[in-house]
Symmetry: C2
Amino acid sequence: MELSVPRYLQVKHGLERQIAQGTLRTGAFIPSEHELQAQFKVSRTTVRRAVELLVDDGVLTIIRGRGTIVAPTRLTHKVTDLMSFTELMRRQGLEPAAIGLRVERRRPAEDVAVRLGLGPGEEAYEVFRVRTADGAPISINVSFLPTHAVEVTGLAGLSREQSLYKVLAEDCFIEVSATEDTIQAVKATRAQAATLSVRSGDPLLLIERMAYTRDGSLIEFSRIHIRGDRYKHTIALRRR
Amino acid sequence: MELSVPRYLQVKHGLERQIAQGTLRTGAFIPSEHELQAQFKVSRTTVRRAVELLVDDGVLTIIRGRGTIVAPTRLTHKVTDLMSFTELMRRQGLEPAAIGLRVERRRPAEDVAVRLGLGPGEEAYEVFRVRTADGAPISINVSFLPTHAVEVTGLAGLSREQSLYKVLAEDCFIEVSATEDTIQAVKATRAQAATLSVRSGDPLLLIERMAYTRDGSLIEFSRIHIRGDRYKHTIALRRR
DNA sequence: GTTCATTTGTCCGTATGTATT
DNA sequence: AAATACATACGGACAAATGAA
């Protein structure tokens, strides 16, 4: 039995391959929908679906009445894709690692409890880590997870796998489907400065993230303090 | 002749209205696609298109085999929507204004010229502004626009309208359709500190933005230095 | 455990409208 | 004016997931 990949994805991948190989060149028109139907032996509906996805990805641009071209501008990473910290680091060409992993179960500070929507006295898991890139400390990461959403045993995988989201997906079967990041510039406290090998008062990027599952329930609140001089956070947005 | 709004948008707006009015409640199932067909007197294709758009907006969540619910979690702003600085400020409940508008035409610094893709000696328009919120200076904004992309006369509207993107759209008929932001934490220089009423060395958020039109050509490169203590930058992402 | 109705996912063929050349 | 290409819309068919009988 074969694993059936939807036709529209097959067409999408086919087009992506042709673009990667240079068969379809940047700025040039791709075959019309009619021609693509013949080429891939699918209906127009299916062709349009594949093209639509590539337009959303910023790979293709449709010019009504004329045709569809391979978008001349290629944003550095796929638009609006949700990315874990690990992925973000790799984009910068840095090899990410984590040290000083510590998992605790306790009542978090009140502002965190409010964000997690915890009842009075309710506890949460706190995951502490210091992330490094090419060996140098680059960020201090604290994640808070509601105890009712995840088992502590499920978090054991963190010792071998750096990505919290991967562990949640593979060991807890929890898929993070949406995030909301708030980004600020703050001064490094003395403790943070020591950990990150910078001077006290130096600028840090503070990213606070709320992560949600597909059904909309909160799965994680995290705070990441990042060295301002070693890291750039990139976001691509697209108007529909 | 009537201005024809596509049926799928009519359905989308109909559903949005029902959600806003509370006819469809958060967390509850909306009518099945079959029922929506009957309700709006359209085909299933059209119903599905409308629902798909609302899912992308984070308003609805589809549970396969069961139905579609009104998403319990409402992210603070529409996911992946591209927003101008003016819009972003209003979200924070602040009244934005701009002072010290200055437009110059000249050869920009080399790193900027490279980003704009300028040929040797080619010039660009530089738009300087200091943005305020509720009267207090909050950011220093410098925009660079290629001279071949926009007329200087078109930028005259900036004196009455704060939003560069609105002026580009209304006076130059240029629509910004995608942006790529890079965010860093930096130390305020002495000049920046003076302008923003902070201390030299205090943390600032530096947002560098590349803005593109629909056909993929670069229309703007901008640098925004923002007071770290007065501003939070929020981004919502969604995995497809 | 199996069957069955319901609901969403994929796919097709066709028809008509609108924009561009 | 005509041809081409994308946009919208319909109706039907079967597959896959879910939950209940």
